[in-house]
């Protein structure tokens, strides 16, 4: 697998709503699209033993994650009639209430867009080497676990 094939999905900090809007807007020229499905992961301020999560600090084994994401993308395009797919994941600190994951699939028809989006989200959570340190206001932390 050559390095240039790998699309970067990571960026530092939260994913701004304006970035999501720009991404949606860019698809208005693709008039074969009939449906978009979007998943957004937002940092949840869970209360754990009376302490609230203030932010999550994300880290990844990036080279491995991008190779894995490449394979997931290939498999999803193989399986569904998609026009396009975009994936963005935060690294570094993301405050509670901010967006850390953005998965965006588009297709002529809604079923393909919706199912591809769901499957991509599930695979990202299960297969990408990404970790999250849940930071409390008092500077203690615990490691996030996906359910």
């Amino acid at each position: 697998m050559t390095e240039k094939k790998l699309k970067n999905i990571f960026s530092q900090g939260a994913i701004p709503a304006s970035f999501i809007a720009e991404s949606i807007q860019k698809h208005s020229s693709k008039t074969g699209i009939g449906a978009h499905s979007i998943f957004l992961g937002q940092v949840r301020s869970d209360a754990i033993n009376d302490k609230k999560v203030a932010a999550i600090e994300y880290t990844s084994y990036e080279e491995m994650a991008l190779e894995k994401m490449y394979k997931i993308r290939e498999a999803i395009f193989e399986k569904y009639d998609l026009t396009c797919m975009h994936v963005h994941h935060s690294l570094g600190r993301v405050e509670a209430g901010e967006i850390s994951l953005f998965v965006f699939t588009s297709s002529p028809h809604r079923n393909a867009a919706i199912e591809a989006c769901n499957e991509t989200v599930e695979r990202i959570k299960a297969e990408l080497p990404v970790w999250g340190k849940e930071l409390f206001a008092d500077e203690t932390y615990q490691w996030k676990e996906n359910t």
Binding site: Y61, I124, L128, W131, W143
Partner: protein, 77 residues
């Protein structure tokens, strides 16, 4: 022979560092034994290992300059 070990997530709390160079190990079983003797808390920690970005489930011979990653459960999203 030298192997580059990289630790992620909660494993870095145990190792105190993200990269560790280990010499004179011939396979992954031997590497894991060595790491567990260096960092006993690893034995009680859930993780998988990847050799040059490929997850392995069985013992594997190591080559010079292999990169072995210690991967605790993923928590992306």
């Amino acid at each position: 022979m030298q192997v580059n070990v990289i630790a992620f997530g909660q494993i870095t709390d145990i190792t105190g560092r993200s990269t560790i160079t280990v010499n004179d190990v011939t396979d992954t079983n031997e590497l894991i034994q060595k790491l567990h003797s260096l960092y006993p808390a690893l034995a009680n920690t859930k993780y998988v290992i990847a050799v040059d970005k490929q997850i392995i489930n069985e013992n594997m011979l190591l080559e010079n300059n292999n990169t072995v990653a210690l991967l605790p459960p993923y928590a992306g999203g």
